[in-house]
């Protein structure tokens, strides 16, 4: 009889796996402000984090935080429902391709109802001509929605969308090029199927027709790809939705235990910006509440071509209004 073997077996029987909430301890290190601890949140079956992978990434040590808009904001009506604004920007700070300013090329408003069952993600076309309210010293103007970010940051984008939709945005998340690549790589790549081969110098994407597994760099190229199909932003949005859905499905499959979840968040969380209130604990709470959710339904704001410029769009009313009414 080997006493050390018996002792090790004994230890293995006593051992517990770390819960997802262990990641809160990391916040103590990084100076995140302490929050009250909720009891009973030892998370099992965290597969659901992934359901909102897009929502789930902005935790742990965030690269920076975004201030919410000041002044009057839409009231929060339904208790327990949550609206998260997720933007993908073309910011490449520090890279060779660095350009002036940054635009929100992907704008996604994710609505989580109080029961968390039917999640809806609505794409807001970047080419939407809208009324942008006054942000700081920048006066109000009519312009493309993606310029709100360039002039006033994510705070201004949030203010613009809140003004347009009368939907209160509870949390906001910003993912730039680098962050997006890291998320895809942390997922181990993501699979897409193309009808036609792609060879696009602008997005630097080359893909054969058929199914490919994209790494972070390629997935970014795919997200940016415009010179494909009819070249419209609308078709691009459709392609983006396919990719995001595939990413979420992959995340849901992969992040099956709390250890994997915290490792995933540890890798991707660093490169993402979110509002200060969207911290680890909030995230874990949210993930826990998503256990029974299906993958989100993707929609696009109803639109018509702009009467002034066929390359731009304006929101179609009253359809858009009716869509957002469900989010309030």
């Amino acid at each position: 009889m080997d006493d050390m073997k018996l002792l090790r077996d004994f230890g293995a029987a006593l051992e517990h796996e770390p819960p997802a909430t262990l990641a809160r301890q990391r916040n103590r290190l990084t100076g995140a402000r302490p929050r009250r601890r909720r009891v009973g949140l030892l998370v099992t079956g965290l597969a659901a984090v992934a359901t909102a992978a897009a929502v789930a990434v902005p935790t742990l040590v965030l690269r920076g935080s975004v201030a919410p808009p000041t002044g009057a904001r839409p009231a929060k009506v339904v208790t327990g429902a949550l609206n998260v604004l997720l933007v993908g920007t073309d910011s490449e700070v520090g890279s060779k391709r660095f350009r002036k300013g940054a635009r929100t090329d992907t704008i996604l408003l994710v609505h989580l109802p109080a029961d968390r069952k039917e999640i809806t993600a609505v794409n807001i076309p970047r080419d939407s001509i809208v009324q942008i309210p006054r942000c700081g010293s920048v006066p109000a103007r009519k312009s493309m929605i993606n310029s709100a970010f360039d002039q006033g940051g994510l705070t201004c984008t949030v203010k613009t969308i809140e003004t347009l939709t009368d939907v209160r945005i509870d949390h906001m998340v910003e993912v730039d090029f680098l962050a997006f690549k890291e998320v895809v790589n942390a997922l181990g790549g993501v699979q897409v199927t193309m009808k036609q081969p792609v060879n696009d110098p602008k997005s630097k994407l080359r893909l054969p027709a058929g199914t490919s597994i994209l790494n972070g760099e390629q997935a970014l190229g795919y997200m940016r790809l415009r010179n494909y199909g009819d070249g419209s932003d609308m078709q691009r949005i459709k392609r983006q939705q396919v990719l995001l859905r595939a990413m979420m499905a992959k995340a849901k499959k992969m992040l099956t235990d709390p250890g994997k979840v915290s490792a995933f968040l540890g890798v991707v969380g660093k490169s993402i910006k979110a509002d200060e209130d969207f911290d680890m604990e909030t995230m874990v709470d949210l993930a826990t509440s998503l256990n029974d959710s299906r993958l989100p339904t993707f929609l696009t704001v109803p639109w018509v071509p702009s009467p002034d410029d066929p390359h731009r769009v304006v929101w179609k009313q009253p359809d858009a209004e009716q869509l957002f009414a469900r989010f309030r």
Binding site: L7, L14, E15, R28
Partner: protein, 194 residues
């Protein structure tokens, strides 16, 4: 699978990086928090484990400037800090082992083949093991468990506890002798085995 960064630097590099960029220290948490959690959960149970792991990293962070960069691997350092923190919970630990003397621990997934190979049911030996651990002096228990449950080598244990390797060996032998005695084995030849 989660893709790790292609080049994984030594822990010591992270510690020295954290001298100027404190965020770098969080990477150490990502590497070792789960390992430390499992270790504490064995000794003290899951309830205090989360907090103790957090505490360990806070203490380590506050002492990061005195870390000896000659040691590439930070595990012994972290286990050393954790061991000191566990010692404040000595009563909890002893009570835990005593409770295990009475109540059987939850069933653990051991293949029947393993049990046959071991020649003795580990399950059946648990009350004796728990009793022996509860009775061990803390310093012998620390050494025994860092090796058996923390998977540290003798050298790493010596480094963690800041004692000579020879002392590690003698404490380990003493601890093992008592465990074997509790298991009813008195073969003196095994005593010299290390």
């Amino acid at each position: 699978m989660i893709t790790q960064p292609a080049t994984r630097g030594a822990d010591a590099d992270l510690v020295s990086a954290s001298w100027t960029e404190p965020e770098a220290f969080a990477e150490l948490f990502d590497r070792y928090s789960a390992m430390l959690y499992r270790y504490v959960s064995k000794r003290l149970g899951p309830e205090p484990a989360e907090d103790l792991v957090g505490e360990t990293f806070l203490v380590a962070f506050s002492r990061r400037r005195s870390y000896d960069l000659a040691y590439a691997d930070a595990r012994p350092w972290l286990f050393g800090i954790l061991t000191k923190l566990i010692s404040r919970h000595r009563r909890t630990e002893a009570a835990r082992y005593r409770a295990l003397l009475r109540a059987p621990v939850e069933d653990h997934v051991d293949s029947p083949a393993d049990r046959v190979a071991a020649g003795v049911s580990a399950q059946a030996a648990r009350p004796e093991l728990a009793g022996a651990l509860a009775a061990l002096p803390a310093r012998d228990r620390d050494v025994l468990l860092l090796i058996a449950w923390g998977d540290l080598t003798y050298e790493e244990t010596a480094q963690a506890l800041d004692i000579p390797v020879g002392t590690v060996r003698s404490r380990l032998n003493r601890g093992r002798r008592k465990v074997r005695a509790a298991l009813g084995d008195t073969n003196p030849l095994l005593d010299e085995e290390a």
